[in-house]
């Protein structure tokens, strides 16, 4: 167990290094040096000083120095925004995106597990049918469809939630809901299938025969085991939430990191791209690591070191 965690923790910087190299090659080398752009006339003196400041005399020196700077918390200057550094942009946008993503994940896991369990219990019944339809819709509909439908209904027609504001919890509810629907649908499906498996297993029958109530057996004994595939799905789910958050941030006009990533790509702002990709990757990989370790703790039967 300790060995598994150690390996995974040691793997993390390696994977990050690979992502860094890949990103660097894709955004810096392939489309050309960012300092010799044709769309923006910059004074050669300015370029020289910028290059010096960012250790970008050659791409090799930048490649070597940028990670060191990043570890110190300095992501360099943005190439499109004049007075704002990449660090400032990330510092402003990241908390917004992360809180939105966390809210969405909490809703997705909680609602998904509940819906899946209830569907498994009433297998073939009306609620099962309902849950399967919801899951199919959640998997199929893009988040911008769901987001704009929620926006039009609850902000436009019913005036339940504020429009275009950010900072209060009520402004987070709709975007969080829109973002949570896709992972929720997957989680509900996973829970339903594994719960159906669980409910027909021997230990559940034994527990019932011992006189435990149906509710205790389902929610305590069954769910503990049925929730395992859900935990292993949390990694991919967080990646999906990341994608979704770009969209939802655009629909609800939220000042998160997503719009900066999109703009940095459109503006070919290489430092901002590198910075956002690295920050997103660190978050995703750390979260995946936590999930994997949690998985090993929750189910001691699983030999995580074995290669399937």
């Amino acid at each position: 167990m300790g060995r598994f965690i150690a390996i995974r923790v040691l793997q993390l910087p390696l994977i990050l290094a690979v992502i860094y190299l890949l990103t660097f090659v894709l955004v810096w080398v392939a489309p050309g040096d960012p300092f010799t752009r044709t769309d923006k006339k910059i004074d050669p003196v300015v370029i020289e000083s910028m290059k010096k400041k960012m250790h970008a005399e050659s791409w090799r020196s930048f490649l070597a120095h940028y990670p060191v700077q990043m570890i110190k918390g300095d992501f360099g200057a943005s190439l499109t925004y004049d007075d704002v550094s990449v660090t400032d942009i990330i510092r402003a946008g990241l908390p917004v995106s992360v809180s939105l993503g966390l809210l969405a994940m909490v809703i997705a896991v909680y609602a998904g597990v509940c819906i899946g369990t209830l569907a498994a219990v009433s297998r073939g019944g009306l609620f099962d049918w309902f849950s399967l339809s919801v899951a199919l819709i959640g998997i199929s509909l893009p988040s911008f469809v769901i987001g704009s439908a929620l926006f039009a209904l609850f902000c436009g027609t019913l005036h339940w939630f504020p429009i275009g504001s950010w900072g209060s919890f009520s402004a987070m509810v709709l975007p969080g809901l829109a973002l949570s629907l896709t992972p929720m649908a997957y989680i509900a499906r996973l829970t339903r299938v594994s719960m159906i498996d669980m409910l027909s297993s021997d230990f559940i029958r034994t527990a019932r025969a011992k006189g435990l109530s149906r509710a205790t057996v389902i929610w305590k004994h069954g769910l503990k085991n049925a929730v395992l595939p859900v935990i292993s799905f949390l990694g991919p789910a967080s990646a999906a939430t990341l994608t979704g958050s770009f969209i939802v941030e655009k629909v609800f006009n939220i000042p998160g990191l997503g719009q900066h990533f999109v703009n940095s790509v459109l503006n070919r702002d290489q430092t901002l791209i590198l910075g956002t990709v690295m920050v997103y990757s660190i978050f995703l990989l750390t979260f995946n690591l936590i999930v994997d370790v949690a998985y090993a703790f929750v189910d001691p039967r699983i030999d995580v070191t074995a290669k399937q």
Partner: protein
């Protein structure tokens, strides 16, 4: 929701004493018939109208009324209408957009592009996934460990960021190679999406190959002295048609979704070329404007995209149950 009812319909297959052939099971599955039917209608509608939506000259039967980039300022933001001044106007069946372009024409061409990207990206990822899965499962040993470890690591990467980066890097290269910008845009987009969505396929195929490899017929092939390539193509692949079909059907909607995400954000297909995602993005502000509301600009592309994705997922689920009897047992 008449479409959803087959979910509950107990599989006629399981109980039927009649010969249980694959074709029979496919026909008996309501989901495959309904999903496939809707998809087929959508495909035919989009592809058969390509001569009209690409008719720039205006000499065709519809006089270029459906040409995707024909701007008629007088028609700006017109709501859907079947007749204007007593005349039938197919161009206005879905209304017109901010620049007075026929939304029907744009939706049809956008659908063709979205579907093309979905199918092409799925084809690439099926090819990659099956190759990696076959080699990893069949060879085993260090190659298997290496490939599967890489797949594990790739699973954790922020793949949507990678799609964008691939697209950014490849597009200028393809442009320099002589492809016209819209074509380079299209090719790069499905290459990038295909390159990141083969992981699940590789895992599934590897698992299947592992169990097939242990069976006597593979050993017989080896004993008969067949080459690896021949074993792959003639003996293993035919046995993998089931899972390949199922996961290919499920990759297509994911690829279409990813394309629509990117186009919605403005990073995907570049204007004036339409896709369902970019049409929805264009319609977002007119549809949610509080003073002058034009909801049709958002509703039309969203509805078309949703129906297509629903039917694809519907079909994929149906196929999965037909090809995987174990899952079916857990279902009914």
């Amino acid at each position: 929701m008449t479409v959803a009812s087959p979910i509950l319909a107990p599989h006629a297959v399981a109980a039927a004493p009649a010969p249980d052939t694959l074709a029979r099971r496919l026909r008996a599955s309501g989901r495959i018939v309904v999903g496939g039917g809707v998809l087929l209608i959508m495909l035919i509608a989009c592809l058969a109208t390509l001569p009209f939506t690409l008719d720039r000259s205006g000499t065709g039967a519809l006089k270029g009324a459906l040409y995707f980039d024909r701007q008629t300022p007088a028609l700006q933001r017109r709501v859907p209408a079947f007749r204007v001044n007593g005349q039938v106007t197919p161009a206005l069946w879905f209304g017109a957009d901010t620049l007075g372009r026929s939304l029907l024409g744009r939706s049809l061409l956008g659908g063709s592009i979205s579907l093309l990207i979905g199918f092409a990206a799925a084809a690439i990822s099926v090819f990659l996934g099956v190759s990696v899965g076959l080699v990893a499962g069949y060879r085993g040993g260090w190659l298997d460990s290496l490939l599967m470890r890489s797949v594990d690591i790739l699973y954790g990467l922020p793949y949507i960021l990678l799609v964008v980066l691939f697209k950014m890097a490849l597009e200028p290269m393809f442009g320099r190679a002589g492809l016209s910008p819209p074509v380079a845009n299209l090719v790069v987009l499905f290459l990038a999406i295909g390159l990141v969505s083969w992981l699940t396929m590789a895992r599934v195929i590897r698992g299947q190959v592992l169990s097939l490899r242990a069976q006597p017929f593979v050993e017989a092939c080896k004993a008969a002295g067949l080459g690896e390539w021949r074993i792959f193509t003639r003996h293993l692949l035919p046995n993998l048609i089931g899972p390949i079909t199922v996961y290919a059907t499920l990759i297509i909607p994911i690829a279409i979704l990813e394309e629509s995400f990117l186009s919605f954000l403005g990073i995907g297909i570049q204007p004036p070329m339409p896709t369902w995602g970019s049409l929805a993005s264009d319609g977002l502000i007119p549809a949610l404007n509080r003073i002058h509301q034009y909801p049709h600009m958002l509703i039309v592309p969203c509805a078309l995209l949703s129906v297509t994705l629903l039917s694809l997922n519907f079909m994929g689920d149906g196929l999965r149950d037909v090809f995987d009897p174990k899952r079916e047992a857990a279902k009914v």
